[in-house]
Amino acid sequence: MSQSTKNFSLPSKFRLSAVFDALMPVFATIAALLVGAIFLLLLGANPITAYSALLEGAFGSFNAFAETLVKSIPLLLIGLGTCIAYRGSVTNIGGEGQMIVGALLSTWIGLSFINLPGWLMIIIAMLAGSLGGAIWGGLPGLLKAYFNVNEILSTVMMNAIAVQIMNYMLRGPLIDPVQAEAASQIPQTARLEVAYRLPRLAPTRLHIGLLIAILLAVAVYILLWRTTLGYRIRAVGQNQAASKYGGIDVKKHIVLALLLSGAFAGLAGMMQVYGVNYRMITDGSSTGFTGNAGFNGIVAALFGQLHPIITIPASILFGGLLVGANAMQRVVQVPSALITGLNGLVVVFVVSSEYFRKRNQRKHLAAIEAGLDNEPPRQNGENLEEVPA
């Protein structure tokens, strides 16, 4: 583990294939889109028109890029939680529910106390959101550690439970008083005080959540590789038996890994409310609120090789893809179902491209061992073996 401190030492000699490897997810995305071009042709749309609309919708203007960044914030936060959970060898697919519970708790507090200074409420709400997510992630942790309930089962079930709690709260106790009076009661909360909104960074919808998420990415990096807690979480993730033998409380660290990843998801939920919508609205499903971020964030983390820092650009890339794809749908008027299908293709291609990256790295290392290359081993890849397959 000690060599991990050298994580970002630059290779002494520039290696073209290293750049190639780092960009592998980008190439894979392009490959998936090329396959998608076939579908576009079949639907009678011009793929070049379509994909230029995608690029322009995602990165083509200041405003478009801001939208991409807004979309990437929840992906990054969920992705950071995923980094912790997967390093601890737990599979948290409960991001959707954890986002919802975090959002509910922070919204409830924001609507209950209306005379606090804005900055204070934002801090309280961030804590409340994280707490909500931590509870919803911690419960599966406790169930796994002490009752041997697999976390995939419990997180799937708890996603469904969270949706029902949200539906009940938004049509009942938390409903907008205006809607409570109206004939067709829209299940939404009242709007938050203007002072409680997350400050915006530019005259776009981009809010300060981006900076907070990036700071947290650094914090997660430090947590995982510079603290005892992080070391223990990773140790438990790699080898439970050995960790136990080494005196680590395995159960406690399983709970902590799930609890922490839930906290990040809860914070993502809070930011959707305080930074984007300023109220909670439900259409009866989880995706209506989360936009599938609970799943897409996991994918973003994998794009980022489960490394918190690399997850930052990965989330932006993936966020851009989602924003751009919607723009593309509007320009060429293809059914939006195609976008979901493309999203899936991109995930499959990117996750498969890992194979080629790993193989290249292995070849490179083999070459070093054979003494054919004077370059020191690249440290960036050292953690790959720890990635639970």
Partner: protein, 310 residues
């Protein structure tokens, strides 16, 4: 009000609803179980179900041939399974993520195809109810258990068959060996790759039939996202059942019957919020598993890619 729940009509209603609701879970979960037993976690079941549901529905709509429909769904499921196998076995991709990718792909594709090839919601003549001679005539019991459609019988027959294959055949032994200790299995001459391809393709086929059981047997209609998360529940039930066919049967029946029960609670006007009723099956499944004593750790090599040394 609560006492209304303990009448013969209600109990019969819950059991027969439970049997129907459990049918797709049985197909999909047992398929998933074979995959996991050999070491492959497939989170893409939902996508496979949707594509299977669409394919079967489309074939019935165009040809009216129910068996052709199920065959076509099986073929699509096999292709989806093969793709999942190629990505996770040959390319050793992270299984959970690849599954999420196939889930999104299947959902998008089934929606797209539906919109382009059909467009309007229409119902079809699906598998009819088949009354089993003699058994079907038994009062009450016959009506609940022996007056169902063919795919329902098949789903329940699948449980003992899966148990037999897994525990009493060489194939089952190989599957279990590959999931527990692929290196050892490999050294004994078992082709880890081939066994895993087999189980993942089988899983795809069964998930696809699960979808078809909805669209051409139980509901006789197709609508976008009609599986509504059942594919994920099916994966969860594999853990509930500790990777055993009869455990899965227990889980599927528990979940489905509690779901039927909550509908009755609402129908009988028992005054609890509808949301609380709806979440009952999810809560109870977790609770029952948490409080049950016998639990397995699962196949040791689950989610671990296999690569021959050297």
């Amino acid at each position: 009000m609560i006492s209304d729940l303990f009448t013969a009509t209600v109990i019969m209603g819950i059991i027969s609803s439970g049997i129907r609701l459990a049918t797709p879970y049985l197909f999909a979960s047992i398929g998933e179980m074979f995959g996991q037993r050999s070491g492959v976690l497939n989170l893409g079941v939902e996508g496979q179900m949707l594509l299977g549901a669409f394919t079967a529905y489309y074939v019935v709509l165009k040809t009216g041939n129910l068996f052709l429909a199920v065959l076509a769904a099986m073929a699509v499921g096999a292709i989806m399974g093969l793709a999942m196998g190629f990505v996770t076995i040959r390319l050793q991709a992270t299984q959970g993520i690849a599954g999420i990718g196939f889930y999104l792909f299947g959902m998008g594709m089934s929606n797209l195809l539906f919109q382009k090839l059909i467009g309007v919601v229409e119902n079809i003549n699906g598998f009819p109810i088949v009354k089993i001679p003699l058994l079907g005539d038994i009062p009450v019991i016959g009506e609940i258990f022996f007056q169902q459609n063919l795919l329902v019988y098949l789903a329940f027959l699948l449980v003992p068959i899966a148990w037999f294959v897994l525990n009493k055949t060489t194939l089952g032994l190989k599957i279990r060996a590959v999931g527990e200790n692929p290196e050892a299995a490999d050294s004994l001459g078992v082709s880890v790759v081939r066994v895993r391809y087999f189980t993942v393709i089988l899983g795809g086929i069964l998930s696809s039939i699960a979808g078809a059981s909805l669209s051409v047997a139980l509901l006789n209609v197709f609508q976008q996202n009609m599986t509504a998360g059942q594919g994920f529940i099916a994966v969860a039930l594999v853990y509930f059942g500790s990777w055993r066919p009869f455990g899965i049967l227990a889980g599927a029946l528990l979940f489905s019957m509690v779901n039927a029960l909550q509908l009755w609670i609402q129908v009988l006007g028992i005054p609890i919020p509808s949301e609380l009723a709806v979440m009952m099956p999810y809560i109870l499944t977790i609770l029952v598993l948490a409080l049950s004593l016998s639990k397995d750790k699962g196949p040791s090599a689950l989610t671990k890619a296999f690569e021959r040394e050297g």
